[in-house]
């Protein structure tokens, strides 16, 4: 390998080489961080919700305006919805995964000010919510029918004595790893905070707001049906029944209460609500992908352009090298080696710049640090891009005739 002569020649043509190396360094620093943000955002958007089939579980949200007897209306609605063809199960709840809005409260292991509060979603389950969502109890037991309370918030401030918690919340509240079954937690950390006993642990269950932090999996499930107008019905449909069921469900509910105002989304699947929730993540990822591709194209074009210019400037020199015995392969190797040296320098500078940029992003966007495998992949990708970009001009150079050596061009 003629690395030393190539370095020697490059040292006398610094500007072009420096510009390409700088462009590669900048591209590397930006694209590796962009790729990592893209990966992070897409991973967030792809997090499991705990719902076993998001296309089959749908929610109907509405505000009831005319009925004075909400308890009777809820029971009539459930009975009606169970009769709609394509509906497998119906539940009444106050909030749904990815729903956007819902209840949350601070939970503590003690009812004193010293006990730290852990904020978690509060899910009201009429006894059918977990079944309808397809969420399983992984430890302990589910509610018995007699534990389900019907609570009118206008007349009662009762709280059910037993709850289920999600696994992630259990870990956060009891980090020692001991079983949480039978443990008492408090709805707040004040002396008068209601105490509830944990009777079961459920696996994943996404909160309505699906936040980016680990808290998106913190939920407490209460065995209660709340008599309020903003309740929501969760329906589990038979596979592929969404379209045919949609109008029937809305019509049935309208028949039970003609004055009812349906929510903006009407009947929306969990999958649709997930897409809506993560629209921002997908938009950022798409934008960054576009910027990354654009940068890579610009960089590749820069390398192709510079290599083509150098080939044109060195036509005579290439002819002389061929005359002196260089094979076509030697000429290709020369340009590829030259490019590897420039790209390698750019990538090394890029790794440093990427780390600096990442450090800033970690501070500003609470991103985790760049993983070394990702950096290594970026290094390989940029070098492949560099070599791939120079191959065309290098092969064209190798096809120049050695007779150029004797021409006065």
């Amino acid at each position: 390998m003629e690395i030393r002569p190539i370095l020697s020649a490059l040292s006398r043509n610094k500007t072009g080489a420096f510009l390409i190396a700088a462009q590669i360094a900048l591209t590397f620093a930006i694209t590796i961080n962009a790729a990592y943000v893209i990966r992070d955002r897409l991973a967030t958007a792809a997090r499991p919700s705990g719902v076993d089939d998001e296309d089959r579980v749908v929610a109907v949200r509405f505000a009831m305006t005319s009925s004075q007897n909400i308890d009777a209306l809820q029971q009539r609605d459930v009975a009606t919805l169970r009769g709609v063809p394509g509906v497998e199960s119906v539940a009444i709840t106050n909030q749904i995964p990815f729903g956007g809005g819902g209840w949350s409260g601070g939970f503590a292991v003690g009812n004193t000010r010293e006990s730290p509060n852990v904020n978690a979603g509060m899910v009201f389950d009429n006894g059918d919510v977990l079944k309808t969502l397809g969420v399983k109890v992984i430890e302990g037991r589910y509610f018995t029918p007699d534990e389900i309370m019907v609570i009118d918030p206008d007349t009662s401030r009762d709280t059910p004595p037993v709850v289920l918690v999600t696994r992630e919340l259990a870990k956060a509240m009891f980090p020692s790893g001991e079983s949480v079954l039978g443990k008492t937690i408090y709805l707040g950390n004040t002396p008068d905070a209601p105490a509830v006993r944990i009777i079961g642990v459920i696996g994943l269950m996404e909160t309505p707001w699906a936040s980016v932090s680990a808290k998106h999996l913190y939920s407490v499930v209460f065995p209660q049906r709340l008599l309020q107008t903003e309740n929501q019905y969760l329906l589990r449909l038979k596979p592929g029944a969404l379209e045919q069921t949609k109008q029937a469900v809305l019509a049935a509910l309208a028949k039970n209460d003609p004055d009812r105002v349906a929510g903006r989304d009407g009947l929306a699947s969990i999958a649709k609500m997930r897409a809506k929730r993560y629209r921002g993540e997908h938009a950022v990822a798409g934008l960054l992908i576009a910027v990354t591709v654009f940068l890579l194209i610009v960089t590749a074009s820069g390398i192709v352009g510079m290599a083509s210019l150098w080939v044109n400037l060195r036509r005579k020199q290439i002819g002389v090298r061929r005359a002196l015995g260089a094979t076509r392969g030697d000429i290709v190797r020369y340009f590829v080696t030259e490019n590897l040296l420039i790209t390698g320098t750019g990538v090394v500078a890029g790794v440093i710049a990427a780390q600096l940029l990442n450090a800033a992003l970690v501070r500003q966007m609470t991103l985790p640090q760049l993983p070394w495998p990702g950096l290594a992949f970026g290094v390989v990708a940029l070098i492949v891009l560099g070599v791939g970009s120079v191959l065309g001009p290098a092969v064209r150079a190798s096809r120049l005739s050695p007779a150029l050596a004797t021409r006065s061009v």
Binding site: E2, R4, P5, S8, A9, R12, N13, K316, Q317, V320, R321, R322, A323, L324, G325, A326, T327, R328, G329, D330, S401, P402, A403, A405, T406, S408
Partner: protein, 244 residues
């Protein structure tokens, strides 16, 4: 050493065919110092390109150092150029970004020689041309004559069997031209065959023999054939065969 029989070269464009060499036949013996003369456009450079395996030819037969080179691949031709042939060009053709040492090193690297062997050959060759003290100089820091001496060192470093020189003194003043010619003659005396294209009749007279190329054919010298042609040369080699 070099034998061409009926070699033809035709340059083609969409509209025109140009017969650069028309059934050219000639022979150069080992150890000879031959001048190739002829007017501009006569085919001298085409002859040199084909003889030096820089270009392929369209017909005839060419034997170099006992090997028929007619059907060789590009890679095989490169190998022969690298090992058996040395080139000296009118405009020196040194690589401007490389110093003297690295310029002489270029063909040796393509031969795949080890670092120690290359170093010895480079220093010996530069010693031979009197430039051993200029290893780190760039071509731009040397005079024309010195640059041509570096080019000669580059040609000699690979110990070629034959040297092709394309007007090696064309860009030099008379003093430097004489110096370079003396050097080439010395190289020839030491056994290297040299074929030199030249416009200079004085130089041609110093050769063992002259080959005159006219209209793509090697032919007997004719003093009155071209008013622009070179001055008379001493004699025309009996081995030159004019053919149609």
């Amino acid at each position: 050493m070099l034998k061409m029989e009926g070699v033809q070269k035709i340059y083609r464009t969409d509209l025109v065919q140009t017969h650069a060499l028309r059934s050219l036949s000639l022979e150069v013996e080992e150890g000879e110092f031959v001048a190739v003369t002829g007017p501009s456009g006569s085919g001298k450079t085409t002859f040199l390109n084909i003889a030096g395996l820089l270009e392929t030819f369209d017909g005839g037969r060419y034997t170099l150092d006992g090997k028929d080179v007619s059907g060789l691949s590009d890679r095989e031709r490169s190998k022969i150029r690298n090992v058996k042939i040395g080139f000296i060009f009118q405009s020196f053709n040194l690589i401007p970004d490389l110093n003297v040492y690295d310029n002489v090193d270029v063909p040796l690297r393509y031969r795949g020689l080890g670092g120690g062997d290359r170093d010895k050959r480079i220093k010996d060759a530069l010693e031979r041309v009197g430039l051993a003290s200029r290893l780190k100089h760039l071509p731009s820091q040397l005079s024309g004559g010195q640059q041509q001496r570096v080019a000669i060192a580059r040609a000699l470093a690979g110990s070629p069997r034959i040297l092709f020189a394309d007007e090696p003194t064309g860009n030099l003043d008379s003093l430097m031209a004489r110096e370079v010619m003396n050097m080439l003659e010395e190289i020839n005396v030491q056994g290297t065959t040299i074929v030199m294209v030249t416009h200079d009749p004085e130089l041609a007279r110093r050769m063992h023999r002259n080959i005159h190329i006219m209209d793509g054919q090697a032919s007997d010298f004719d003093h009155g054939s071209d008013s622009r042609s070179d001055a008379p040369v001493d004699r025309i080699a009996p081995r030159i065969v004019a053919s149609v």
